[in-house]
Symmetry: D2
Subunit: 343 residues, 4 copies
């Protein structure tokens, strides 16, 4: 059994992580910290956990965290970086579900996140936790930067095309749509039911923080900088991301479905759908799974990839548990085998 701590368990990523850790057969959940809710039963805030845990939120406390094998950060951006160095020093392995360690370039991070980085020296060491790309490095990592939700869906969708240099990578388009849970559990007019349901809109067209993250991943694979237009949209629903990806093929003769199937055949959490099948977000709701379809409409030179995940699972908490399994040498699917709820 591994002992785990969670820093910041009061958001949607947090409660989803608790759901998965509580059901994980190799994890003992030791502490869940929250400055604002310290002393309150977790199941009082999240009654779905009433039968499953008697833990209370505790104030963040380095000592009890230092006694864990692994600590997850499900905190707002900018929190983990203030606590991680001390934990690493004490031999604790860390998985950060926020963005503190996702960009390798300190200056770029500070530009997009608007604050000074507190431990830039850790950026080099941090491993970007996309298992389908970095499995070996994750296994060795002391600190894993769990990918953002959009970057997971978009990167897995583009990877085979970029790896095989099949497309004009200077004009990639990612039209992505996310359920409202991606915006978090903060009190906010824009995510009220009366504002966000029965409506649809793009947002952050001028630049979303996940843009440099996706660009970094794809550029790393390409070996040079890629050009990407990334437009996120807000879906009137709770969970799920769909990314429709567009690129112009440099050559038209490849069997793209075969390429994708081969690339992801051994991946337990990427499912390339049969030819002609369309991915629906509900088929991955609650499950750590990315389903992908590949199209070449009318046999033209434009390829369309559709990629779906549950933003809170493969896009956050589930991928974090997948990374945990890899880091500690457990079978990668441990605790992640539940069936998506449909309907």
């Amino acid at each position: 059994m591994l002992s785990a701590g969670v820093v910041g368990g009061t958001g949607y990523t947090g409660v989803e992580l608790l759901r998965l850790l509580i059901q994980h057969p190799q994890i003992e959940l030791k502490c869940v910290t929250s400055r604002s809710e310290a002393g309150r039963k977790i199941s009082e805030l999240f009654p779905n956990l009433r039968e499953h845990t008697d833990l209370e939120f505790t104030a963040p406390d380095e000592k009890s965290l230092a006694g864990c094998d692994v600590v997850f950060f499900a905190t707002p951006n900018g929190t983990a970086m203030t606590m991680v160095p001390a934990l690493l020093e004490q031999g604790v392995r860390v998985i950060d579900l926020a963005a503190d360690f996702r960009l390798r370039d300190e200056a770029e991070w500070e530009q997009w996140y608007g604050i000074k980085h507190a431990c830039a020296e850790v950026l080099d060491e941090a491993v970007y936790g996309l298992p389908e790309l970095n499995r070996d490095a994750i296994n060795q990592a002391r600190i894993v930067a769990n990918p953002g939700c959009y970057p997971t869906a978009v990167s897995l969708g583009f990877l085979p095309l970029i790896e095989n240099d099949l497309i004009d990578d200077q004009h990639l388009v990612a039209d992505a749509k996310s359920g409202v849970s991606g915006a978090g559990r903060g009190a906010n007019v824009a995510t009220l039911l009366c504002e966000a349901s029965e409506s649809f809109k793009p947002y952050a067209v001028d630049g979303h923080r996940h843009l440099p993250e996706i660009r970094q991943t794809l550029s790393g694979v390409a070996g040079h900088g890629v050009g990407l237009t990334f437009v996120p949209h807000l879906l009137p629903m709770i969970r799920g991301i769909e990314a429709s990806l567009y690129a112009v093929l440099k050559t038209g003769s490849t069997d793209l479905h075969a390429l994708y199937s081969a690339r992801y055949q051994a991946e337990p959490f990427v499912d390339v759908l049969p030819v002609g099948s369309m991915p629906e977000t509900r088929t991955v709701r609650g499950a750590n799974m990315c389903r992908i379809s590949v199209f070449q409409p009318q046999g033209g030179d434009t390829v369309v990839i559709a990629s779906v995940i549950d933003n809170l699972v493969k896009g956050a908490a589930g991928q974090a548990v997948q990374n945990l399994n890899i880091m500690f040498g457990l079978p990668e699917t441990t605790g992640l085998n539940n069936v998506a709820q449909l309907p």
Copy 2:
């Protein structure tokens, strides 16, 4: 390992039952029959099952069903009754998720369901599968009539009051609301998204088939006929039932919360909430759980009970698995421990 067959797995109750059986550690799913989908992969119809089963739907076939330890019927009303006698004869135990065996009175059944009963002789033997009321009989039963969704929520809510003869049981009111999945997966204008979302309405006020079922249960406990007004409503959402129950107390001095807590203390799937807490359907989504709150507003003589379940789980497939566990002597919570997904 027990071998299980499912007759009729193409509706919402069916796919939810498949989700639970696939994840049940003591069950081997042997066959899933569907006349209309025979030969098709189950995971083609329900892509959430892609990683979890390679089974195909087969045509209903008595022989392969007869080889099962248990057969579930997730069929429309009127189907199970034509197949059950033969299965019982061959020693197969049966759990019917439809209504064929829920009413003991043949004439009443035929009146409400509008068809002749095909095996009225089995009605006497069939056990009404509400574990919190009939656990011992379920354990011995060859055939279990799995309760309806509304009856589960309403009966569990009223039971302690009726058992202790605390209320005027001639004027019970059950104002119940259900998500649209309760209406099934049939193509139907009334349950289109554009008809049923962003709206709310009562229906079947003049008489719903679950009325005689609830009345039978409560009257059985009371020892005489109870009077019940039951008004179902359609909620603009997928899963969940909430029943608000109203009754006039014959005596005002009882500690109702203590009464309910004691009644359900040993029940793994009934949760009496702390005083002042309100049950939300989302806290039981996907979980086999009924959460109940008890109120006596302004200390008056009217008691208000609020009871929530997931209509597809504790109201259907989950309760069926609970009944299976009881019938075969397994720990009652086997395969039913998953945490509700929130949000």
Copy 3:
């Protein structure tokens, strides 16, 4: 043309009132005040108004309000009472969409609203603006207290039964359900899409502020205090209230449908549905209409009334405009004839 001012136009009641006033042929909208949004274009906050008004929010200013024929308050509770006396003194007629003048009893008001009333002397003069009950008084009123949303649906549903003394009025039950817009546009975790959609719950069972308001109306009609259990619930949708009302008949022989039809025949905004028809909230979405159905299930002694309104229209802004029409002698339906949007 009448000149109108609106104090507090930034909430859902406010924007709905603006929608109706802008389309009202006899109204010139002179000013819309908001302390927080002063100087901002109204259509910037509410882009649905872009083609319809160039007005900006202004700081509340007694002088410009005093120049209006009528001033609407669409403010939080407790605001109107501080400004109303000065406006009345200057001959402005006032319609308060908040609760400041709804209860005649100062002590009861202070108990339920938790603050001291600033102009209790006005309470006596204020007319409760339910046109179907108080039309003549409204016509003469200087100040109208626009009814709450639940009280409108519940009172219209019970009125004919109480007026004719047909029921046990000590055990009335009102099981009411409201869309989330009833909770307002404030940033609030409980009304986030991820909290309030795909779920359903009762709330304020121990006592909601609309309880004394309904009790006051029904008791006034009965000529003595009635006993009411009122349980509100939160619906996972934006607009609409349905109230299911239960009462035990003192006599079983009345034709209730005929009674209701006669009572509301001349009312332009109350629609008694044909026998057997169920009201759906979507049939009144955006319209100033209350639709009512009457049932006596299985011919028993319990009557069930179902009443639906759009909480923002007949439950707030539409009823306010109806009151305006009555106060100023305009045809009552002026500006209120639009068809509900379906789907």
Copy 4:
């Protein structure tokens, strides 16, 4: 007053058209035909119309239609073409909300719609009813082919770029999303609330019938064939279309916002939003309006246009009424001035 007939008023486009025609000050609605509902009150099928019309559906009858000034077809594809020639001959002007007259090329129409065209000789005469492009021709037209919903949103978004030859028009991308009402009121498993809510998916990626329609419009403007990838998606909501459009600029120095503002300045139903503003579908719900935003993210060579409409209004019934106004010389906004309902 103009007399109008509607053929096929039982779908969502039909009921929306009835809502608009009933409220139109220059229209007298003479007959609404429906083979399946003949003899039934319209307001029985659509209770939102109870206060507004006493008309019954009638069987389609050439004589009574021939007495109208204008006849609208809100029928499935393939119906109008069988009735239109006779009506034209009798001097009735026709607006077809279905697809029968949208494509000029008979062979292409038959390929995409899978049936033989019954009156191909009318295709040449039919005017494509996009007022922002064809206003003068519409004014003279005997028969107007009302544009599809997606084509309206996509074409208005691309027009200024194509008209000014600013982009690589061989690699246009239109990522479009529609509410479920676009799929119609037919009983269909795929559009049940339990299938289509809380989920999102692309569909018809290999080729949607609106693709040739959009291509025809844009190619006509360009003066040569354009290359377009069009991917529709299904939104979990009732009304609204958003199209995100992507193209690579041939030159980077144009002020695109100024270009769009100038192009649509005189258009009553196209609203170019201020720089930085994002269009939301809810701001046009129920209104005949297209709102458009223009972006050039990070100042790169890719332009992003976001265009929103209500698919049932500017995408269908509202545009049909706009065409009617143009055809008969009425002010173009007659009967189309209502404010969108928000929230």
